[in-house]
Amino acid sequence: MLSEFDLEMPSDLQASLSSLPYATPLGGGTNLLVDLRARREKSKRLVWLGNIQAFREIKINAQQVSIGGGTTLSDILHSPAMAEAAPSLFNAARVFGGQMVRNRATVAGNICSGSPAADTVPPLLSLDATICLTNAEGCRSVPLDQFYTGFKTNLRRQDELITGLSWLVPNSNTANLFYKLARRKGDAISVVGVAVTVTREGDRCTHARIALGSVGPTVFRAKDAEAILAGGLLSEKLINDAAQKAMEQSKPIDDLRASANYRRHSVRVLTRRLITQAWHSLPEKTAHT
C-alpha cells in the first residue's frame, strides 16, 4: 500500500525547479509509484512534471533531434520522423512495456531510473545523445555516456531535472539498430539489450557504437569492441572479433531471468548479428549529398 505523500503539480518549469531541492520529480510514475508501494522509495514530497508547458515537445530537423524532458515512449512512437531520426530508439519504444506503460513512461524517467535494463539507454548511447540537466540557475549539457557513475547512481544533482535530450540525425551512410532479448516478447524486462550504430564508407567502417544493456551495473558502451570496428575494413572476422570483445567487456550477473553465461553468449550473438545486419543494409557506394 502507498504511504502518504504531498503532490505538487506546477505548470511551469521554474516553479517545479524551485521546489526540487526538497522533492522528488515524478514523471510517468511507472518506476516511482512501484517503488513507493514496495517501500523502496520513501519520498514524502513529489513534484509531478506532467503539467509543465511544452515539456513533451519533439523537434526534428535535418541535422538534429531534440525531445523534452516529459516525452513519453508513446510520443516517440507517434512522432512520424522518429523512425528515421532514431531507428534504435523507435524500435526500443515498440518493445517497451505495454501500451498503458508506454503512455505514461518518460524517456527521462527511464534514464533516471538507472536500471541496467532501461531500454531507451542503449539506443540513446548508440546515438551519442546529450542530456540537458537544468536547475534554477540554468542548464548544463552532459553526454549521456558520462552520466552514470555506478549502479543506480548518476551525475544528476538533487535540484536538477532532465529537461531535454538531443542527438544528431544519423546520415544516410549510417545504420542504427536495437534488439531486446527477453523471456517474453511483450512487456518484459530485458535479459540483454544491444544497440549498434555503424557508418559505412565503401568497405570501411568509419564510426561504430555498441551499447549494451542488462550486462553490467549500468548500461554502457563496449568501447574496445567499437575500436575494433572503427576505421577498419569490415569483414566477417572483424565483426566476430568485435562481438567477442563486446562479450568480454560484459559483466553480467546471474538472476531469475538468465544466467551470466547466457547473457555473455547472447551479447556476442546479438552484437555480431546487429553489426552484420547494419552493415549489409548500407549502400556500398557512399552517397554524397
Binding site: 500500500m1 518493445v95 505495454g98 532479448l181 523471456r183 517474453r184 516478447k185 511483450g186 512487456d187 518484459a188 524486462i189 535479459v191 566476430n240 562481438a243 567477442q244 531469475l256 531471468r257 538468465a258 544466467s259 553465461n261 547466457y262 553468449h265 547472447s266 556476442r268 550473438v269 546479438l270 548479428r273
Partner: protein
C-alpha cells in the same frame, strides 16, 4: 463426419434452435460495459477491512507473537491469532453433498507453532480502513526460529528428511496394473526411457481473491466472494463450530478461477473476522497476497519406459510419477490419481504399470489447476511418443495412429469409454489447419508438433456427484433458472440459460438465471473438473424437459390435439403440421397459472455412481467420460539465442456438442494461451521454499505480442454424457498445448528440452550439448556456447 457420428441418434435428430448457435453470451454485455458486479464491488455500511499477516519463512517455529501494539492502534477492531481461535482445523478436501468419508487433509487455520510454508497465515486483522489495517499489520511483533525443511521431492524421501506432516512425506499413492509388463517388454523390439519435468505455475486469474462477510439478524454468517465453490460453507461452519445452516456463501461473477479458487481462500478469514467483530468485513487480496495465498500447480517428475515393436506397436508401458504436494495435502491425492489414470494417454496399451505419489515438502502447497495432474501426464506421454517415433524411425503422427484407442475401447483401468474417441480425426484436422510450412533462414529453424490427449470431464465417480437446478415459467411466459453453479468466466450460466431456452422454446434473452447462492439456489456442486456443463447442464435440461412435457400436455389440451403433435418454439406452442394452430407461451402460462398448473421443476442429475477402484490394480471405472482432441503448433526457434516464437496454434477437439460455439472458442483460445505460458515462460521460483518471483514482472504470462492467431476446430460427435451429447472443454483445451509446443521445439532443433518451461537459455544449452551441433559451433567462432 456424418458416417462416424455415433450412438445417440435420439438427440441427433432433434432440430436445435438455440443450442449450437454462436449466441452472444448472456453475461457478455454486462462485462463489456463494466456493469457486472464482481465480489470486490460490494460494500456495506460500517464495513471493516481485513488483512492477513503471513510468514516470511517456509519452515520455522513461531516462538512468540505480540499483537498488543496493533490492537491498541485506534481503528483496529480485532487481531486474531491462533490463541484466539478454538483448536479446530480447516478441511482442505473436495467438498461434496455425498457424505462420503474423506481423506485426512486438514490444516491449521492460523499458525500455532509450526510454520510449514512461505506465506502461511499468522494473524488476521480487521480495521476501520485499509491503511489502518496495514499499519496494524506492521505493528504485530513476532519471533520465528528457522527449522530445517525439505524443498524438493528427492530430499523429502531421504532417510533423515524432516517430516512435514505426520506420519511421513508420502501423502498420496496410486497404482495401476494391467496385463503383464515383463511380457510386454519381452515382446518389444525397442525400449525407450525418458524422464520429463514440469514446474510450479500460478493460476494468475485477473481478479485476486476477494470477499465481504456479515452476520445477519438470524446469526447467519453471509459471505459474498469470488469462488468456484460456494459449497465450502460446510467446511467453514465446521471450522467455526457452528451448524451448517448458519453459514451462507454467495458468489458473484468470478474473474477467473482455473482451480485456484477451488480450495478455501478468503472465506474462512472473513467468517472469523465477521464473527469476532460482528461488523461487515471486506478482505481483498493484493496480487502479492494472491501469489502467496493459494495453492499452485504441482511440479511433476514423470519417467516413462515404453516397449515398442519395429512396426510401432506399443507393447508395454511403465510410468513413475512423483509430484511435489507442498506443505499441506489439499487435493494432491486426487491430482495424482488423475495423473496415473491419464499416464498412458489416448493409447491402447495391453501391459501397463503405473505408480504415482505425492510428496510433501515445505514449498507452497499445490492443488487444483486446470488439467489437474492429467495435464502434466500429457506433457510426458506426448513428448515420449515423439521420442519413440524418433528412436525407431517412424513418422510421429503415424505412430500415434497405430496406437490410438478407438471408439469402444477400454482405458488402462479397464473402463469402457462410452462415447466417441476421435483422436485421429482431431489430429488430422489440426495438422491440415497448419497449412503450408513457414519458411525461415538460418539460424532460425521451423518445427511442428502435436499433442493428443484423453482428459476426463466430470468428477471421480465414487465421489457420487450430483447437481440440482430449478426451472420455472413466469405468468408472462418468461423463464427463470435457479442453480447454485458458479460462473468463472467460461460462460457457464449463459450455457445453462441456452439449454433452458432450447427446451422451453424461448430466446436466450427470455431467460434469467440466479446462481451461486448456497442458501437460496439449489446446490449444483462446484465449477471444477470440467463438470459444470455436464452436471448442471443435465440438471437444467432435466428440469426444463419435464416442464416442457407439462406445458405441451397442457397446450395439446388447449389446442385440441395429441401432445406428440405439439412443439414449443419461438415463444409459442403450436401444432407441428399446422403452425397456424398455436397458443403463445404467455397465454399458455397465464391459463396454466389460473388452473393451478405447476410451472416449475426442481431436478437432480446424478453422475454414474461407482465403487472406488481396486487399490492394488487400479482397475475399475474412475470418471464418467473423456474428451479427446489435439493441439497442433508451428514454431520458429532462433538457434543462436534460443528464442521460441509460436507461429501457428490450432486446437481441434471433439466436444460432443457445442452449446455455444463462441464460448467453446473462448475456452480453446484461453487454453492455447495458458498452455503456451506453461510451455515457454511461466514459472514460480522457490528458494528454500520462499517464493522469489511473487509478481508479474517475473512471472511471465504470454502477451498479445507472444500469441499467434489461434485457430479453433470444433468437432461434434454428439456422443458425450452432457446435455445434447456435449462433452467438456474447459480443461481439455489446455492439456495438449504445452506438449505440442515442446514437440515442435524438439522438431525444430533436433534435440529436446526435457524440463518445462522451455526458456531461451535451456534451448541454447541443449543445443550446445547435442552432438549434431558441429556447424553451429563453427558459426559461433568455435567458442563454447555456455560454460557450465
Amino acid at each position: 463426419m456424418t458416417d462416424q457420428t455415433p450412438h445417440r441418434q435420439t438427440e441427433a435428430n432433434v432440430v436445435l434452435r438455440q443450442i449450437g448457435k454462436p449466441l452472444e453470451r448472456s453475461d457478455a454485455e454486462g462485462k463489456a460495459t463494466g456493469r457486472t458486479r464482481y465480489a470486490g464491488d460490494y460494500t456495506m455500511p460500517s464495513m471493516l477491512h481485513g488483512r492477513v499477516l503471513r510468514s516470511e519463512l517456509a519452515s520455522a517455529r513461531l516462538k512468540h507473537l505480540d499483537a498488543s501494539a496493533a490492537r491498541n492502534l485506534p481503528g483496529v477492531l480485532c487481531v486474531l491469532t491462533a490463541d484466539e481461535l478454538p483448536d479446530r482445523l480447516a478441511a482442505t478436501d473436495i467438498p461434496g453433498q455425498t457424505g462420503q468419508k474423506r481423506a485426512s487433509t486438514d490444516r491449521q487455520i492460523l499458525v500455532r507453532e509450526f510454520i510449514r510454508h512461505h506465506g502461511e497465515p499468522l494473524a488476521l486483522i480487521a480495521a476501520e480502513t485499509p491503511a489502518i489495517a496495514e499499519k496494524a499489520h506492521d505493528l504485530i511483533e513476532y519471533e520465528i526460529e528457522p527449522l530445517p525443511g525439505v524443498y524438493d521431492i528427492d530430499s523429502a524421501l531421504g532417510p533423515d528428511a524432516p517430516i512435514v506432516t505426520e506420519p511421513d512425506n508420502i501423502v498420496g499413492q496410486h497404482k495401476i496394473r494391467k496385463g503383464n509388463v515383463d511380457k510386454g517388454f519381452a515382446e518389444a523390439d525397442h525400449i525407450i526411457e525418458n524422464t520429463f519435468k514440469t514446474q510450479f505455475i500460478e493460476h494468475a486469474f485477473l481478479e485476486p481473491e476477494v470477499g465481504l462477510a456479515w452476520v445477519d439478524e438470524n446469526g447467519v454468517i453471509n459471505i459474498r466472494m469470488s469462488t468456484q465453490v460456494i459449497e465450502h460453507f460446510r467446511f467453514i461452519a465446521d471450522a467455526l463450530g457452528v451448524p451448517h445452516n448458519k453459514v451462507r456463501i454467495l458468489g458473484a461473477m468470478v474473474g477467473g478461477g482455473f482451480g485456484g479458487k477451488e480450495d478455501i481462500t478468503v472465506e474462512l478469514y472473513l467468517a472469523l473476522l465477521a464473527q469476532a467483530t460482528r461488523r461487515p468485513v471486506r478482505l481483498a487480496y493484493t496480487r502479492e497476497d494472491s501469489f502467496l495465498g493459494h495453492g499452485k500447480r504441482h511440479p511433476f517428475v514423470i519417467s516413462h519406459k515404453t516397449g515398442v515393436t519395429k512396426q510401432g506397436k506399443i507393447t508395454a508401458l511403465e510410468v513413475n510419477i512423483r509430484a511435489d504436494s507442498g506443505a499441506y495435502v489439499f487435493l494432491s491425492p486426487y491430482v495424482l490419481l488423475y495423473s496415473a489414470v491419464a499416464a498412458p494417454g489416448p493409447y491402447r496399451i495391453d501391459n501397463v504399470k503405473i505408480d504415482s505419489a505425492a510428496i510433501a515438502t515445505n514449498n507452497m502447497y499445490t492443488s487444483a489447476f486446470r488439467g489437474f495432474g492429467a495435464a502434466q501426464a500429457c506433457v510426458a506421454y506426448e513428448a515420449q511418443m515423439d521420442e519413440i517415433a524418433k528412436a525407431i524411425g517412424i513418422d510421429r503422427f503415424e505412430l500415434r495412429r497405430r496406437n490410438f484407442m478407438r471408439t469402444g475401447d477400454k482405458t488402462a483401468t479397464g473402463q469402457t469409454v462410452e462415447s466417441a474417441i476421435w483422436s485421429d480425426e482431431c489430429m488430422t484436422r489440426a495438422l491440415e489447419a497448419l497449412g503450408e510450412e513457414t519458411k525461415a533462414e538460418e539460424p532460425v529453424k521451423i518445427g511442428r508438433g502435436v499433442a493428443t490427449y484423453q482428459q476426463s470431464y466430470g468428477r471421480i465417480t465414487w465421489l457420487h456427484d450430483t447437481a440440482e437446478a430449478w426451472v420455472g415459467i413466469e405468468i408472462d411466459g418468461t423463464v427463470i433458472v435457479r442453480s447454485g453453479v458458479t460462473d468463472i468466466g467460461g460462460g457457464q450460466v449463459s450455457a445453462l440459460s441456452q439449454i433452458a431456452a432450447e427446451s422451453l422454446g424461448v430466446g436466450l434473452e427470455d431467460v434469467i438465471i440466479y446462481h451461486s447462492d448456497s442458501a437460496v439456489t439449489p446446490l449444483a456442486g462446484t465449477t471444477t473438473a470440467t463438470r459444470a456443463l455436464y452436471m448442471t447442464g443435465n440438471a437444467v435440461h432435466k428440469a426444463s424437459s419435464i416442464l416442457r412435457g407439462r406445458m405441451i400436455d397442457f397446450a395439446a389440451n388447449e389446442l385440441d390435439v395429441q401432445p406428440d403433435e405439439v412443439d414449443l418454439a419461438n415463444g409459442q406452442a403450436f401444432v407441428v403440421d399446422d403452425p397456424s394452430n398455436f397458443i403463445s407461451l404467455t397465454d399458455l402460462a397465464a391459463r396454466g397459472a389460473s388452473e393451478g398448473l405447476q410451472r416449475s421443476e426442481l431436478a437432480m442429475f446424478r453422475a454414474p455412481f461407482t465403487d472406488p477402484i481396486d487399490k492394488e490394480t487400479g482397475q475399475g471405472p474412475v470418471f464418467p467420460d473423456f474428451t479427446y482432441g489435439c493441439h497442433a503448433v508451428e514454431v520458429s526457434v532462433d538457434t543462436e539465442t534460443g528464442e521460441v516464437t509460436v507461429l501457428k496454434s490450432v486446437g481441434a477437439h471433439d466436444i460432443g456438442q457445442a452449446i455455444n460455439p463462441q464460448a467453446v472458442e473462448g475456452q480453446i483460445e484461453g487454453g492455447a494461451l495458458m498452455g503456451q505460458g506453461y510451455a515457454l515462460s511461466e514459472e514460480l521460483i522457490y528458494q528454500e521454499g520462499k517464493l522469489v518471483s511473487p509478481s508479474f514482472s517475473e512471472y511471465l504470462i504470454p502477451t498479445s505480442m507472444d500469441m499467434p492467431e489461434i485457430k479453433t476446430i470444433i468437432l461434434e460427435s454428439r456422443s458425450g454424457l452432457g446435455p445434447f451429447g456435449a462433452k467438456g472443454i474447459g480443461e481439455p483445451s489446455f492439456t495438449p498445448v504445452a506438449p505440442a509446443i515442446a514437440n515442435a521445439v524438439a522438431d525444430a532443433i533436433g534435440t529436446r528440452v526435457f524440463e518445462l518451461p522451455i526458456t531461451p537459455e535451456k534451448v541454447v544449452k541443449v543445443l550446445s550439448q547435442s552432438q549434431t551441433n558441429g556447424d553451429l559451433e563453427q558459426k559461433l567462432n568455435k567458442t563454447p556456447l555456455l560454460e557450465d
